[in-house]
Symmetry: none
Subunit: 231 residues, 2 copies
DNA sequence: GAGTGGTCTAGACCACAAT
DNA sequence: TTGTGGTCTAGACCACTCC
């Protein structure tokens, strides 16, 4: 199962940008040059570059070339990015620590949210994400086994659960809920909070193939995390 | 300057959906059929349909066809939905109380946000919104006078500031920021908070005609208000 | 004029779904 | 088996920018 050519080209460009090979405002290789390098038709390169331009990672100018777009500082709620990408975009170093990974039985609330029976087996993970060493997110997740059978075998320090789930269970829909909350005991322990510091809680339920696939609770320190966006 | 073929096909499909020719979940003509009808290559049809699928107006399934996607509702964050409409949608009774209305001088932070000089005159309003008698939002707002000259003469118990501003200063753009915060003194006094109850703070800056027009700080009791949405 | 991206063609092979 | 979408080719012409 090789990745399609256009995807390989996208990855090549994204890796180059991440590695600083082309910086903001700099020109990337032209379509004909990429076509030669990857031995594909120009239309295939065009698709790869066009998609990155649609995602505003590149900007194109007819007659002059394709350039790395200025980094956008927007974690739009409508398109929530993995925390690792968000941190990388700010130039920070991301590290994840797995606090728990295993199977649990669904309680009443979870059973209702995931449309399984009470006591059903669910995969469960608990991670802390750090930016430059400081905890920035406590991620607790419950996953319906059928939606991601290999969930428990993953190394979530390398690929975040959110990234893994997107790969194995194409995301059809998601619901979210944002709240200000006093920290839960687990969040207090994991997030290195000041006295009286509240948490920004992002609760998310995802659907894949028409059925509920996972529920996530993302706890963030109120003093060090905010959601931003624009329209 | 004729529109490109792929755009004509997109328009054809959008018009058909708008006219009810194909309803939610129904199949639209296949790529080969559209190619015949428009006398273009299948790749051109593919581009048109793929773009509409990327925009989630259509959904595609290999082997079975292309379907009209279920209409998506906008997240409450993406639109500026006045709190009064939000409450009405839940079946609650909305009442607003004006705590302050007048002119103030811009401090450093506000001057920077609104691109005016320090000490410049700004309109200022402070309101509490109640749902069935319980305070649900403390709304503090600073407005550039040029953007809404009649701001101070309004009766904000009848029309909320947000509704008034949308009328007089067509909204071009907005930035928002969502945070979890301990209550400010004003919020503590106005929102009838429990001990240790945090606030969900929505900070919003609006632009009209290219210039910053207003800044709003919307404080909500963490236990009684959440932002929700889906995609 | 040379190089760039924007669009388009007329095929092709494949994976997948419905039958 | 037939029809669907997913991907790709090897060209082409055009509008535009830069030199």
């Amino acid at each position: 199962m090789a990745a399609p050519a256009y995807q390989r080209i996208k990855d090549f460009l994204l890796d180059g940008i991440a590695a600083g090979e082309w910086r903001e405002g700099e020109r990337i290789p032209s379509e004909p040059e990429l076509a030669r390098r990857f031995r594909v038709a120009r239309m295939t390169v065009n698709r790869a570059v066009k998609e990155l331009a649609d995602e505003r990672i590149l900007s194109r100018a007819q007659g002059s070339g394709t350039f790395v777009a200025p980094a956008r500082q927007e974690s739009t709620l409508v398109e929530i990015r993995p925390i690792s990408a968000e941190i990388a975009a700010r130039g920070g170093a991301h590290r994840a620590e797995v606090l728990a990974l295993g199977a649990v039985k669904a309680g009443e609330a979870l059973a209702a949210e995931l449309a399984v029976r009470r006591g059903a087996r669910l995969f469960h993970s608990l991670l802390v994400h750090r930016e430059d060493g400081r905890p920035i997110q406590l991620e607790e997740r419950w996953v319906v086994p059928a939606a991601a059978p290999g969930y428990l075998d993953q190394d979530f320090t390398a690929v975040t659960p959110s990234e893994y789930l997107v790969q194995v269970a194409p995301l059809a829909r998601a619901e979210y809920r944002i709240e200000a909350r006093p920290p839960s005991p687990a969040a207090r322990a994991a997030l290195d909070l000041d006295d009286g510091e509240p948490c920004l809680l992002l609760h998310r339920r995802t659907f894949s193939g028409g059925a509920a696939a996972s529920v996530a609770e993302l706890w963030h320190p109120g003093s060090r995390y905010r959601l931003t966006g624009h329209f």
